[in-house]
């Protein structure tokens, strides 16, 4: 029996999974289905054959290199791969199906290969099952040549997998299938990377930032992934497996205990209503929001529309998503945030040394007004549902919100001229996520209908800590007194200007932070949907009077640690009922 080994990383998405390592090496290809007009079918088969020819050349080149560098009969597997590539039956079937189904070669070829791979994968013989890897190896080369790209996909993952990779890009993370993937472990990334966000969205555990993981783990190894403690356990002992079974059971019991809160009103024990809404990333997640009893969508991130498509979606495509979301959530509000994209995601030739301080979010939108207006039109059109609000990311100067509002008003005017309907009373808000926006909030509040404090970025920018850098991620702490002072003052300023103030970072879901934020007077907390029942439970156990006292005192400390210690003590003294949901 192999020895148990524990790897430490950053806990980014809670829960525990027992599964099998699946090493993801970013080499598979996504295949899209496109109809082909009859007149072009012959061209399509020719395109297919030239991809086969090119792939054969690629394989021969690799074989030659292996023969030179390694020698022996090591390259023999490539002979088998070349036979697989040129398999006449297979090629004929693909040709025939292109004509029959009138679909693109990628799609047809992929389908035919999948059938073969499936048959082999079902074999009792391990040697044969391993050939599936060869088949995909070849097929991926062909598909890549067909598509003329080196992109990869994460769709085809065996059941009960713990996906293990150096890193997973956002558009790949978006394709993770929670039916087969039980958890995620990577070398790169941190609490707020896209992989982390996706894992939480899919409600699967994830541990990121595990150093040198890929050197120490192999495909098919049995592991336990503990997303609460941030560890990956290879070859767990039977005692370990047993104790985890108990933990899993307890978690389920707590979830069960909290589940009635989904349905309950979100108000404090002394009766103040606080909006508890959901942060979502994909349209389909509105079902999570509803399931957990969200009072609305507090943040709909639109980046994924862009990233999963690898290009700007048309106005129509965007409108369909925004409109469908607004319709499904009606009458609950939906806050749509415009693209929070880095320039490098939009213009492949664009690179910069420091993207977090660079050309991103509203800065890109303002520099590319046509691109920006397309999104504004789509959001405005969806606002006919009367429950849509719009929010702009990463405002750091007064001019930015002025210019944004000018473009927004101009877009409205153009729609009116074309007699296209939208909600005239649509609320406009900004993310307060830079220290400059927080400090300028008295002026910014005159320009908008609401503030939403993005506590993740606000923390990062205030503390000058790159949250994705594993070496310093321990410096990233929302409870840092400097961050709390900014949050407190933004809420105060907003209320002074008679606008509402929400908070949509991870702080909103932290049971220790909720009494503090309520004490500061926050009007809305927006969080990952699964955290909502717990937040409601906390909210319903606390009183405004006590929270205000706690908040006042919490502002007097010098360090994040002191703040947290104090909050735990205060909760123990005033609201012991919520201690069981604090980890």
């Amino acid at each position: 029996m192999a020895r148990e080994k524990i790897f430490k990383g950053i806990a980014v998405s809670g829960g525990i999974a027992q599964g099998t390592i699946f090493i993801y090496e970013t080499k598979k290809v996504e295949v899209f289905q496109t109809p082909i007009l009859s007149v072009y079918l012959k061209d399509e088969t020719e395109r297919f054959h030239s991809a086969i020819g090119k792939t054969e050349q690629d394989l021969l080149n690799i074989k030659q290199r292996i023969n030179q560098e390694i020698g022996g009969n090591f390259a023999e597997f490539l002979d088998a791969q070349i036979l697989m590539l040129n398999d006449k039956e297979l090629l004929q079937m693909v040709r025939k199906k292109i004509f029959e189904e009138k679909k693109n070669a990628e799609y047809v070829y992929h389908k035919v290969i999948s059938d073969y791979a499936k048959k082999l994968g079902e074999s009792k013989d391990q040697y044969l099952r391993e050939r599936v890897a060869d088949i995909w190896d070849v097929a991926t080369r062909v598909l890549r040549n067909l598509l003329g790209l080196t992109h990869s996909s994460i769709v085809d993952v065996p059941k009960d997998s713990i996906i293990t990779a150096h890193d997973i890009s956002p558009s790949e993370a978006a394709l993770i299938n929670p039916k087969t993937v039980l958890g995620i472990a990577t070398e790169a990334g941190g609490r707020t990377s896209h992989t982390a966000i996706t894992a939480r969205a899919l409600e699967i555990p994830a541990v990121l930032g595990i150093k040198e993981l890929m050197e120490k783990i192999e495909n098919g190894e049995s592991v336990i992934l503990d997303g609460d403690r941030g560890i990956l356990i290879k070859n767990p002992s039977s005692g370990r497996v047993h104790s985890y079974k108990i933990t899993i059971r307890k978690d389920r019991e707590l979830a069960k205990e909290l589940s009635p809160y989904c349905e309950m009103p979100s108000r404090t024990k002394d009766g103040r209503h606080i909006d508890i809404s959901a942060n979502i990333e994909f349209f389909s997640e509105y079902t999570h929001a509803k399931k957990y009893g969200a009072g609305g969508i507090g943040l709909f991130r639109t980046e994924f529309l862009y990233l999963t498509r690898r290009g700007n979606p048309t106005e129509e495509e965007q409108f369909r998503v925004y409109n469908a979301l607004a319709q499904r959530m009606k009458p609950l509000p939906v806050i749509i945030r415009t693209y929070d994209l880095g320039g490098d995601k939009i213009f492949s030739e664009y690179h910069e040394a420091n993207p977090f301080l660079g050309w991103r979010a509203i800065r890109v939108s303002l520099d590319e007004p046509d691109f920006f207006k397309m999104q504004l039109r789509a959001i405005l059109r969806a606002s006919v549902n009367k429950n849509v609000k719009i929010m702009f990311p990463m405002i750091s100067t007064f001019e930015e919100i002025k210019r944004t509002n000018i473009i927004f008003e101009k877009t409205k005017k153009e729609l009116r001229a074309k007699k296209i309907a939208f909600d005239d009373d649509i609320q406009v808000g900004i993310m307060v996520e830079t220290p400059s926006a927080a400090l300028l909030s008295p002026h910014l509040s005159q320009q908008v209908d609401f503030f939403s404090i993005g506590s993740n970025d606000l923390t990062q920018y205030t503390l000058a800590v790159d949250r994705g850098n594993e070496k310093i991620s321990q410096l990233f702490d929302h409870f840092h007194p400097a961050v709390l002072q900014l949050i407190h003052s933004v809420i105060d300023t907003g209320h002074g200007a008679h606008i509402w103030v929400g908070l949509c970072g991870e702080l909103a879901a932290d049971p220790i932070a909720i009494p503090l934020l309520i004490g500061f007077g926050v009007d809305e907390l927006s969080m990952n949907p699964a955290s909502i029942p717990r937040a409601k439970m906390v909210l319903r156990s606390i009183t405004i009077t006590e929270c205000e006292k706690i908040a006042q005192e919490a502002l007097c400390f010098r360090t994040a640690l002191e703040v947290k210690k104090y909050l735990r003590r205060a909760i123990h003294k005033n609201f012991p009922g919520i201690e069981k949901v604090i980890k």
Partner: protein, 85 residues
């Protein structure tokens, strides 16, 4: 057409490497080559077909060669299946 019942004697079964030798050899002949195992029949010149037959050592198959050079083909291919090539 020639037909023969053969027991796979190759140590690893008719897997990737013997299978590729088989396919390469079969492709040199102009006759049709068919392998049948149970009720599945595959083209002996298709590696994908042969792999999906999943022939381990000891499996019994029917090898059929049909065409002008069927006799030569049968002799050469039988050897591979029996592990004597």
């Amino acid at each position: 057409m020639l037909k023969e019942k053969i027991t796979i004697m190759n140590e690893n079964g008719l897997h990737a490497l013997p299978a590729s030798r088989f396919v390469k050899q079969a492709s040199k002949f102009s006759c049709n080559v068919l392998i049948t195992k149970g009720d599945i029949e595959v083209n002996g010149k298709s590696i994908m077909g042969i792999l999906t037959l999943a022939c381990e050592k000891g499996s019994k198959v029917i090898l059929a060669c049909d065409g002008p050079d069927e006799k030569k083909a049968m002799g050469a291919l039988r050897k591979i299946l029996e592990g004597n090539d």
